[in-house]
Symmetry: none
């Protein structure tokens, strides 16, 4: 039970079959280096026979200085009626010059008949010959038995025959694939156990998530004796994706007690998930197990007070063990305990400040939501305590959205602010009112606060709240996420007017950036004239 | 093995513990009606003792005409040293007047000691007494054994004692909860089996997804004999969410062969997932099993050609069985069946109209979403067929949002339209740009179309789509629900500019109202000058 589990990452190959996931050659190199440092054993880089971009990656990959990982090239068995020497796909695998080659063959007679249009015997011969050919020319060969579980369900004898054919070719490992992703954990466990009795080689597992069961299926195979696990970071992959290594690895280490990458590297799990998602430009589901922003976020009042007493009450593992953090969300379901805990997390002690607590509750009732807007929450508390010093005074803004006849609509914003004793009056146009306002505000401020040029909007969310009867007269809550290349932060604005709500969130975002950078506001007296109206209720 | 599995949905209670998921009372009512039609057995509406908004929902819920589902109110066992008669939480459950009450109690000694600070014996007494008290006053009581699997792991005898205490109170069903979401399927299956031998009542299962195993854990419990399943639509819920009913239900029906909602209703699975996500204003992961846009999308060339020959080569189930569609990402064949079905639903036959289909696909790719905007869909089809006659011609609009110093911001809109041969130029102010625009448009038109005064906006939703990098430069989709006291209808607009997107949806809403009222546009020649720019791409 203490056998080490090898991790085979196919983010760079199967992961890119996912909708909206594409990597350039240099993206792939950066990810490979990161995965290597993270402790992954094998990195499948691509399919040189099917994709010219992958050929370039393998050229570049030779120069990567990897410490743990070995690069694998992926391809199919030779075509019918060709020798391996003649088959361009097989030759492309050799030209990739990788230490590992992974070759897939068919285990399911249905596929042999319908996709390959081959006889069962020809398929067996092709498998054995291709594995054998490559085994004598490459450091190690891994055999992926495509559709193994579907094949075994319909004809177990033939499915096993394909594995024996592969085994005769001398691969390092045989991988059972649930290619269509529809198998159940019970089946995967049972079949893996049965195969183990028939095949002497180490077994691997490759699952897809079409039943939302890929992680469970992977664990079932490991419990049944598989020692090699394939998957992708964040579960990217065709259709519903591959087994998510960001859930498989911590489950193996922390729940099944297996030796995988070790506790030290496991602390880089969340960082790895975020790194790959940033390069893929696909945001991580906030609810993602282990690595999501919400994975250790507590909203319900009962939960919050219990977690404060002892985290194990509502946390299945310590968030730090996977590099994540506990977060206490502030919402109308929550009580006092939430607010105090949240403040404490941000390094603010709020013990007996009844005024502050009451004001927070009042704002929440008005529609403010601080759970995704920690930056606004911090600013709010310093405002309520009177320690906030504004960076500018708003003299006025105006936004015009104009649509004339058949022309496309456009937006223009003007912003007039006072910074210290100087007045700036700027204008900007944009493809919408918020875009124009954001540009105009930063135009006005950048001369005084040059670090604002580093900042950009990452995401913008709008919600209509308390939408009871009057429709557009309802309140609008705007959440803005901003970033400066180093960190990201969220701010919130609420108003009946969407432009005003956006303005509030923009101003808070700028203030957070400047405070984080240690910038000092120009002139103390501004404080008493603070009319930027952001979080107006809080200012009084 | 053919026992029917009951579904208990807690989207409206546990689902709202999820970060970013909030529902108004009327949102909850709409979701409850939809879940009822979908075939859900129990709908947990909220926690009346902890949240005043939930009390309002239970008042409104009494008037809902549900066909299948029974509404449940949720709450905790009575507090220590109080009788049930004195406990405000227990009394709030009775005041909710629901046919079902679900009560949770503690199974884990660690929690009894650390969260409740009670003796083990007191906890047992509290459980039995509360269940007993409610059982004699409510149609049916369900007992949720919170943290059951953690409790059973550390002290099986005590965990079972809590179930016996609950059973003595006479509930309909006892639900084993994996509250912290960290259990493995093997454990859940084994423990459920062991409990079944000890407890004679029907068992239920309630899982959380902290290990990305909630669906597998739920299935393991059902295989071990549980007949009642709790979860949420789209897996919303605290931290990593609850067991996702959109994966649990089809797995039970299609993989385990259990009778749940039946094949007919199962075809509404994707529609249900999208309905709830639209109201929650949280987009569905494109990779979501069964219901995601990518769940049956084929990108790889090998896969595509095989699927074209026989879908079972790379699909674990028929997409139609869950109301989803095959999509071939490299071709534009996708979604045809979906569109035809949608049109048919609205009484429009679209058989061979390739132009119409292509245009619909193009608009959906641009970000239009017609699921909640049937009125726009109908208008679009009549536009594409050339049978739409506009009610006015837009000559221009302008919206000014102004914020001067300490004054409150205000918005003013001007609208200039031509109706027949008359030009109307009106202005209106409002508390936001959309409100002002809506008023100005209806001011301009009411003289010609008096029935527009009956109309009002019911709801307004904004979603930023394709939010990649540039923040506010992303597209904005606006959904508007309007009503006239008799019916309600939804319209959609998409633009980089939120004011423009809102304008499109407003114009469509007005057009739908006038067509429904049988109003005839004033002058045919307008058709060729249609520049209201709504669904611009469709007009050409």
């Amino acid at each position: 039970m203490t056998q080490r589990i090898e991790i085979y990452d196919t983010t760079l190959r199967d992961g890119t079959q996912g909708e909206g996931v594409n990597f350039s050659v240099s993206d792939k190199c950066r990810i490979a280096e990161h995965l290597d440092a993270f402790g992954i054993d094998f990195i499948e880089g691509g399919w040189p026979g099917s994709n010219p971009r992958d050929v370039k990656f393998f050229e570049r990959a030779k120069k990567l200085k990897l410490k743990n990982a070995r690069i694998a090239a992926f391809g199919s068995t030779r075509r019918h009626k060709l020798t391996c020497d003649m088959d361009s796909n097989v030759q492309a695998l050799l030209r990739a010059e990788t230490p590992v080659v992974t070759i897939f063959g068919k285990s399911w007679l249905f596929h042999v008949a319908h996709a390959l249009r081959l006889s069962p015997a020809d398929n067996l011969e092709i498998i054995e010959e291709t594995v054998d050919y490559l085994s004598s020319r490459v450091q190690s060969v891994i055999y992926d038995a495509e559709h193994f579980f579907d094949g075994y369900r319909t004809d177990p004898a033939y499915a096993l025959a394909t594995l024996r054919a592969a085994a005769a070719g001398g691969p390092q490992c045989i991988v059972l694939c649930d290619t269509n992703g529809g198998s159940l954990p019970e089946t995967v466990g049972r079949v893996t156990r049965e195969v183990r009795e028939q095949v002497a080689l180490p077994l691997g597992i490759h699952c897809h998530n079409d039943g939302e069961l890929a992680v469970a299926n992977t664990l079932a195979a490991v419990s049944a004796g598989a020692s090699h696990v394939q998957g992708t970071i964040n579960g990217y992959g065709e259709r519903c994706g591959n087994a998510n290594l960001c859930a498989v690895i911590p489950n193996l280490e922390l729940k099944l007690g297996r030796d995988v990458i070790g506790p030290e590297r496991l602390r880089r799990l969340r960082d790895t998930a975020r790194f790959v998602s940033a390069i893929a430009n696909v945001s991580i589901d906030t609810r993602a197990a282990f690595v999501g922003d919400s994975a250790f976020a507590h909203k319900g009042g009962v939960h919050v007070s219990a977690v404060e007493r002892n985290p194990a009450t509502y946390e299945h593992i310590a968030p730090e063990s996977v590099g994540n953090n506990r977060r206490v969300l502030v919402s109308d379901l929550a009580g006092r305990a939430n607010l105090l805990a949240k403040a404490r997390q941000l390094g603010i002690e709020l013990n007996d400040e009844q005024d502050v607590l009451n004001e927070l509750k009042r704002l929440e009732n008005e529609g403010y939501e601080f759970e995704a807007a920690e930056a606004s929450f911090e600013l709010l508390i310093s405002r309520l305590r009177g320690s906030y010093r504004p960076f500018f005074k708003l003299l006025g803004f105006r936004v015009i959205d104009e649509h004339r006849g058949a022309l496309m609509p456009m937006s223009e914003a003007t912003v007039k602010v006072m910074v210290g004793d100087r007045i700036e009056h700027t204008a900007a146009s944009g493809n919408g009112p918020v875009n124009a306002l954001d540009k105009a505000l930063r135009n006005a401020l950048k001369e005084f606060y040059p670090s604002l040029t580093e900042m950009h909007l990452v995401d913008y969310k709008v919600r209509v709240i308390s939408s009871n009867l009057s429709g557009t007269a309802s309140l609008v809550r705007v959440l803005i996420y901003s970033g400066d290349g180093r960190t990201r932060w969220g701010t919130v604005g609420v108003s009946a007017n969407i432009v005003e709500a956006s303005w509030q969130a923009l101003v808070e975002s700028v203030a957070h950036k400047l405070i984080s950078d240690g910038v000092v506001p120009p002139c103390d007296e501004l404080q008493i004239h603070d009319t930027n109206n952001s979080l107006k209720g809080a200012i009084g």
